[in-house]
Symmetry: C2
Subunit: 327 residues, 2 copies
Amino acid sequence: MAVKDIPMSRLLKLSHEFNCFYLKGLQKGDCKPFVVCGKQVGLIRPDVINQLIGYPDVFHVHPDAITLNPAFRDFDERTARLEAVLKDCRSRNVFVTLKGWRDECYAVRTVFSGEPLLKMDRCATCLFGICNYGVDINGYVNDPEKGLCIWLQKRSKTKQTWPGRWDNMVGGGLSVGYGVLETAHKEANEEASITSDMMKNLRRSGCVSFFYESERGLFPNTEFVFDLELPLDFVPKNNDGEVDMFELLPAKEALERVLSPDFKTTSCPVVIDFLIRHGHINPDTEPAYPEIVELLHVPLQSMYKGFQAATTANELNSNDEINNKLL
Amino acid sequence: MAVKDIPMSRLLKLSHEFNCFYLKGLQKGDCKPFVVCGKQVGLIRPDVINQLIGYPDVFHVHPDAITLNPAFRDFDERTARLEAVLKDCRSRNVFVTLKGWRDECYAVRTVFSGEPLLKMDRCATCLFGICNYGVDINGYVNDPEKGLCIWLQKRSKTKQTWPGRWDNMVGGGLSVGYGVLETAHKEANEEASITSDMMKNLRRSGCVSFFYESERGLFPNTEFVFDLELPLDFVPKNNDGEVDMFELLPAKEALERVLSPDFKTTSCPVVIDFLIRHGHINPDTEPAYPEIVELLHVPLQSMYKGFQAATTANELNSNDEINNKLL
């Protein structure tokens, strides 16, 4: 008997789309580990490696990995030397993503609980496949007639990334020095004028992890997810000019919006996770339910752990501090 | 600078424990794919392979896989021929897990959405690394004084597996022919006397996936998770003799119970997921939060997908129906 292949549901197709690098790119094997202080912190595509070769005092290109020069002494030196390369690349217009320079930095570490090894402008992390952490708030109401309804935002047409696309009510990246809850409060105020009184209802609800790739670069993203039940008469109002409008949609319509091409691909996982946790996506009618849930939580935290330095071993051993650690 | 290794939290250690096969066993590479109709449906350990060699008309042992004889025509023949082997093994007392024969079957398929290729007694699936699906209900109350409290059950001392251990309020396997929601209703009634009126509050809340190994075998498990808020004065009462007692614990004490050795290891993921979704485990105080969330949703559905028959290709090509599919 032949085993029939089941056609993919729209939701499964979308889950594959925001995990295109996890499901396809990784297997191709043309990216190389990015190693800092003897540990893998990212992955670098061939087009980026071709540029980094031009900075041999900062990046060492080995057959099995790209290492940041292990002679750099500390967080500040690593940060400054790498930033100088990025600014040079930016002035030469080499990478499209660097046009979005923000002067807002993300920490670079092996896993979320690891110590920061350097910091990097947020627009540059996708060049190195550095894991990004963000915060998202699902704002919802329980409407007596329409049932569960979700607030969505339309991104401003002037945004550097995903202009004019639909998005979650509130979301933002975790910048160096900010905590998860702290970022949630900051973004809720800036993006949607949510008062600290309303924020008393805020509930931590887990996180989603996925690995997306676009022409700009690699996006291994973990979003810390919060649910926030809002008063029926509340209307979000933007404070920072980054949002065009907000709209309140019943769960079913919100799902259709997420499945449409008008939604920011990398924000879909947060809404799908919300709809699953609130029972609006159903294992008896969506046969790929377990696969979709797994694709909302791909193992990013363990992905870079297995790296074993091989040809880079001599270089690492020549570094005193690491030698001390090994002894 | 050397990268310090962060000591693992108790919760992270436990998440590694219920994923011991995913994190360690898989890498060892001593298990072989179990292939039915040209598709991988499981993994078989060397101790089991040593026994299956004795049944060459049912199992074909290749260097890269064990196949169920592809000459078997259909679901019924595959089921009957494999069951005959298991019953023979049981009479010879070869595998400890077969002592727990239940006359209750699980479907064997490539992924949850796949068509069932055969069925197998639930006690035997761990010999073949077949993905098991189950249903769990988190029964909870919002106590005005103690806050969120969770009902747990103590398993009967006479149970075949995990006797006397603490467990979720209600849980059960997905038997052949039963739907997910249907199983939740059946188990809620049998295990805890929950009325259909109370079940109106039942909320689908996602699923957890993990891959555990014990001396009995391999356990790639996906549990469909439901939350059920119960009346403050309700006390669960067991109907099927499989539960010794129930206890209502505040969230913090429930977490301590889960972290203790008295809790059934393979039920921990459901309670941890509940405590995360309800905000009782916190990314600002638990640095391994994203890793723990990822370890509650390991990619079981894609694990067996990559299998490519190599030395088994000739055998598969000799099977007419599969040939038809390939043409």
